[in-house]
């Protein structure tokens, strides 16, 4: 499609016919999809569609008309059904209006936080449904819940501590029985518990892996490395911002960022060695400090846990004071999580990273380190000390996690209050210099990832913990939204939202989810379940449930294959070894493929640059020749007025200019044939033979242009006549056949780099299934000639400065020039039409 207005864009009848032929060959759904993706106006699309349908129906016989109608109606119905499902699902999306409002006012980086929050909420809803459905309901139905001890009643404190009354409800692991319910179906609680939790974790892991991989591919592998490049900033202008103030702010920010990117390039060169040393010193110092802080926090939590350990007793009932004391550890942990990141931001202000991206990564890494160390210490305590101390230890761990979740929630709310509301007040009223705070996306995202990790660890010990999490995230969404709209301004630096999203998902997966999964796996594998409570009581470890089940299955002969799979696939080491080996080999193969593709990209880039140089070289030469040819100036002047009018309509003005100048060359060539015969011996005969064909082509093109001019006033001026173009093509092909031998021999003598480039290009074209294939392969050999002409000219210029490169060097090249010009015009015509 020629790149012009919305009007008749399908420029020439053949193009349209080609398109319609293509469309007719597809099925109706594919056809509709392809038409929808045409970048033309609605009228045009309708026109193309009616033509395609008319063509299709006219080309078919009447025999199977009823069947065809039926199938068409069916596909129409299916399509309509698909559309209605799509619109229904869109309207059911949770919080769609709010997200649109936030995106419109604050941009997509802030929106990422809310999208992630919604996503994690969905995880929790799914977990709740699964746990409640498969574990809790059977228990409640069969009425096997343990009795509450008589001297424990509901005190309000349970909501915070999770102990006491809650200990005896289905909230925790301890209340689940290990029996098999006989009813309509034999329902084994042990297996149900084990499989529900493990299947949920595996599904979570798969979803995370897939979304991480797709996000990585979209936003990292194909993305540009330079973070502050001007195009990135310009192209990421957010069109969905509707607020006037926000738009002005964005413009300001963009201007500042553009200026920074300009000055950064200058700044980078001007750092002296002493400054660099100082820089490295600051980096080293702040990293040391942050790691020290993180380790220190971990150690202090460790000692705190030990202290609590000494205080705690393994009795059934605890006094209120003792229960309240258990809140100490979560309180300290959340306090550290809130305060220490402020120190990290402070350090960040002193350091000067070369790019803003590295700054964010460094900050994120330190925060992650802090939280991981605290969580790690806590998990160590839970895995090692708690099982020895308590008889019924899993509910204890569950309670600890419950407390952590609740206190974390309280601190999140407080943090929103202090962080955003107070900063806003300080920024606007007390100290206006600070300004309105920005919404710190990275910190908030990390907070919800941490919260979700707690939930993931806690699912094994407390199956109904997702309920708390759902409430927490629900309230958090509205809280953050209100805080955002009242207190914060849009972020000052735009862009990088998609890459940050990838980083967040990656963070969600690798340290946090993988950590949670490994904790649960370690518990299931190595730790002994408590003996008097829970569904796995009496077993050596949780995983032996499977062993027992397999033994049961073994008794039935019809399911022996399950046993076989278990013995030889899941429990055998050879299987895992083989799989690992195969995967490693595949990774190596793909890696090599990637290296090969990288080299190909470099070569193709060089080729594009070369062709650009060729184009400008040819134009220069033509203009030189045109200047040195006075008698055809008048004709050329007439041409240029027409061409200048046409160039306003055509895609490339230089192309029509060269049309005129090529004619000039033709006249010149006729004059200079004798001189050429004397000047360059070898390349003459083939030149003459090509020039004959070339002249035919030239005449054909002249005719075409004259027709074009006459047709210009009549129609809207687009279709270049087909017959003339076909004639020139045929003429050129004839020329190619005659000098095919010449071109290959000449070609072999030339630079091997070019040959590889040409081969690469031809293979790339073949891969691309270019339908103008037969037009471009004669082009490529013409390209070789042009490149050689250019190389020769450049060498001559370099070697013999005195020798004027005007006439003599130009003349053997001029026929190649004409050929190349034609070829290039052809290629450009079809290239442009293809868009």
């Amino acid at each position: 499609m020629a790149l012009s207005k919305n009007r008749l864009v399908v420029s020439c009848p053949t193009e349209e016919q080609n398109l319609i032929k293509e469309l007719v060959a597809l099925s109706t759904t594919e056809q509709i999809r392809k038409i929808r993706e045409l970048p033309v106006s609605f009228e045009e699309k309708k026109h193309v569609r009616t033509q395609a349908m008319a063509f299709k129906s006219s080309g078919q016989s009447h025999h199977f008309s009823s069947l065809r109608d039926f199938s068409q109606n069916m596909s129409l119905l299916i399509r309509r059904f698909g559309y209605s499902i799509k619109s229904v699902s869109q309207s059911l999306q949770l919080w769609r209006g709010i997200m649109k409002e936030i995106g419109g006012k604050f941009g997509s980086s802030v929106l990422n936080y809310f999208v992630l929050l919604k996503w994690l909420l969905l995880f929790n809803i799914f977990s709740f449904l699964v746990n409640f459905g498969f574990i809790t309901i059977p228990l409640l139905v069969s009425d096997l819940s343990p009795n509450v001890s008589p001297n424990v009643s509901f005190r309000g404190l349970e909501l915070l501590t999770g102990a006491g009354y809650f200990n005896y409800t289905v909230m925790y692991y301890g209340s689940y029985s290990n029996e098999t319910f006989r009813g309509l179906v034999d329902y084994d609680m042990q297996l149900a518990y084990f499989f529900t939790i493990s299947v949920y974790m595996v599904l979570c892991g798969l979803v995370l892996i897939f979304s991480m991989a797709s996000s990585f591919k979209k936003n990292y592998a194909l993305a540009d490395a330079a973070s502050n490049s001007a195009w990135q900033l310009l192209c990421s202008w957010d069109f969905s911002i509707t607020n006037e103030k926000a738009v002005n702010q964005r413009k300001n920010n963009l201007r500042i960022q553009l200026k920074e990117s300009l000055s950064e390039k200058a700044h980078r060169e001007r750092q002296t060695t002493s400054e660099q040393l100082k820089q490295y010193g600051i980096y080293f110092g702040s990293w040391l400090l942050s790691t020290g802080l993180a380790v220190g926090c971990g150690a202090s939590v460790f000692y705190l846990c030990q202290y609590e350990d000494e205080q705690a007793e393994d009795t059934e009932t605890w006094s209120a004071l003792k229960e309240a004391e258990t809140l100490l550890v979560p309180f300290v942990v959340s306090l550290m999580n809130m305060v220490i990141p402020l120190f990290f931001s402070l350090f960040n202000k002193f350091e000067q990273y070369s790019s803003q991206r590295k700054q964010i990564y460094a900050l994120l890494f330190r925060n992650v380190l802090l939280r991981i160390s605290i969580l790690g210490v806590l998990c160590y305590y839970w895995m090692n000390t708690v099982p020895q101390k308590f008889t019924c230890w899993e509910p204890m761990v569950g309670q600890a996690l419950y407390r952590l979740v609740i206190v974390d929630f309280i601190f999140l709310m407080l943090g929103s209050l202090f962080g955003e509301f107070l900063s806003n007040v300080i920024g606007t009223k007390i100290q206006p210099r600070l300004g309105v705070p920005e919404f710190d996306v990275a910190r908030n995202v990390l907070e919800i990832i941490y919260a979700q990790t707690l939930a993931w660890i806690g699912i094994y010990f407390s199956p109904l913990l997702p309920v708390i999490q759902i409430l927490k995230f629900f309230i958090l969404f509205y809280l953050k939204k209100v805080s955002l709209t009242h207190n914060c301004q849009p972020p000052r630096r735009s862009g990088r939202a998609a890459q940050m999203k990838t980083i967040f998902i990656f963070l969600l997966f690798i340290p946090f989810f993988a950590g949670a999964l490994s904790i649960v796996a370690y518990t299931a594998w190595s730790l002994t379940p408590s003996e008097h409570c829970g569904p796995f009581r009496g077993l050596n470890n949780t995983f032996s449930v499977i062993g027992e089940w397999i033994d049961d299955v073994n008794k039935l002969s019809s399911t022996q294959w399950v046993v076989w799979i278990y013995q030889n696939v899941i429990r055998s080491e050879i299987f895992y070894f083989l799989i690992t080996l195969i995967i490693l080999v595949l990774i190596y193969i793909f890696w090599q493929l990637i290296q090969g593709r990288k080299e190909l990209i470099v070569l193709l880039r060089k080729q594009i640059v070369n062709e650009g140089k060729d184009k400008s070289f040819l134009l220069e030469k033509l203009q030189n020749l045109q200047k040195s040819c006075p008698e055809v100036n008048k004709k050329q002047k007439k041409r240029t007025t027409h061409t200048s009018r046409r160039s306003a309509e055509r895609s490339s003005g230089s192309q029509s200019n060269s049309n005129a100048v090529v004619q000039v060359l033709l006249a010149r060539q006729q004059q200079e044939e004798e001189e050429r015969r004397n000047a360059s011996g070898v390349s003459v005969p083939s030149d003459i033979s090509t020039s004959d064909a070339m002249m035919q082509a030239m005449l054909a093109r002249q005719k075409a242009e004259r027709q074009d001019e006459n047709a210009y006033e009549a129609t809207d001026g687009h279709p270049p006549p087909l017959d003339a173009v076909a004639q020139s093509l045929a003429a050129r092909q004839r020329a190619e056949e005659t000098d095919g031998y010449w071109s290959t021999t000449h070609f072999n003598r030339s630079n091997p780099v070019y040959s590889s480039i040409i081969q690469v290009r031809q293979s790339a074209e073949r891969d691309r299934e270019d339908d103008s294939h037969d037009a471009t392969s004669p082009v490529s050999s013409a390209m070789i000639q042009v490149m050689q002409a250019r190389q020769k000219a450049e060498e001559e210029e370099r070697n013999q400065r005195i020798y004027p490169p005007g006439q003599n060097a130009a003349s053997p090249g001029s026929s190649a020039l004409i050929q190349a010009m034609l070829a290039r015009q052809q290629a450009q015509n079809e290239y442009d039409d293809g868009y």
């Binding site: 970048p39 993305a223 990421s236 509707t242 963009l254 390039k265 650009g612």
Partner: protein
């Protein structure tokens, strides 16, 4: 053809659903918003055309720096005055919708940025683009030295064949390496 009766004909609706990227709700909403822009007597025309000034009163377009260019690109009028029929309006929303492909978006983005409509982004186009995005008044513009430097940076990055302009394929190449583009090239009613 487009209809301005207060109800959209059912087969028009299904045609719009098939040939654009919009869902039924979005089309109906667009129809409602479009008819709100018309005068009373225009509503009975078979295919009314809304002038550009009226279109630009829509809140989604009012503060957009490219509002006039958008109207000009999507307009099918003979006088190139930026006026839109309902079908042009649907084209606009379809290109800016969530489900439009990257090729469509980059194609229309190229045309929007091509201020002089010559098919390539040359120095003048890029200069106008930067001015559009950084502010029009004297104190908010970039200085001419900065502008020159910036545009030469831009051309270094994206002009692969070194002809001094960015054509459609080079632009699409740059866009494909900018993952934020698809999510930011969006207008939703």
């Amino acid at each position: 053809m487009g209809t301005t009766a207060s109800q959209l004909a059912k087969d028009s609706l299904s045609e719009y659903q098939e040939l654009t990227f919009l869902t039924k709700q979005e089309i109906l909403l667009a129809h409602r918003r479009f008819t709100e822009l018309l005068d009373r007597d225009e509503r009975n025309h078979p295919n009314p055309r809304v002038p550009m000034e009226v279109i630009l009163t829509l809140p989604e377009l009012k503060s957009n720096p490219f509002k006039t260019r958008i109207c000009q690109v999507f307009s099918t009028s003979e006088d190139k005055d930026g006026s839109l029929t309902f079908e042009d309006f649907l084209d606009l929303l379809s290109a800016f919708s969530d489900s439009a492909t990257l090729e469509i978006k980059s194609h229309y983005a190229f045309r929007i940025f091509d201020f002089d409509d010559d098919g390539t982004l040359d120095y003048g186009d890029l200069e106008k683009l930067v001015n559009c995005l950084t502010g029009e008044t004297e104190d908010t513009r970039l200085t001419s030295e900065e502008m020159r430097q910036l545009i030469s940076n831009i051309l270094d990055e994206s002009d692969i064949d070194k002809d001094g302009t960015v054509n459609l394929s080079e632009f699409q190449h740059v866009i494909s390496r900018s993952p934020d583009f698809v999510s930011s090239f969006k207008i939703v009613l």
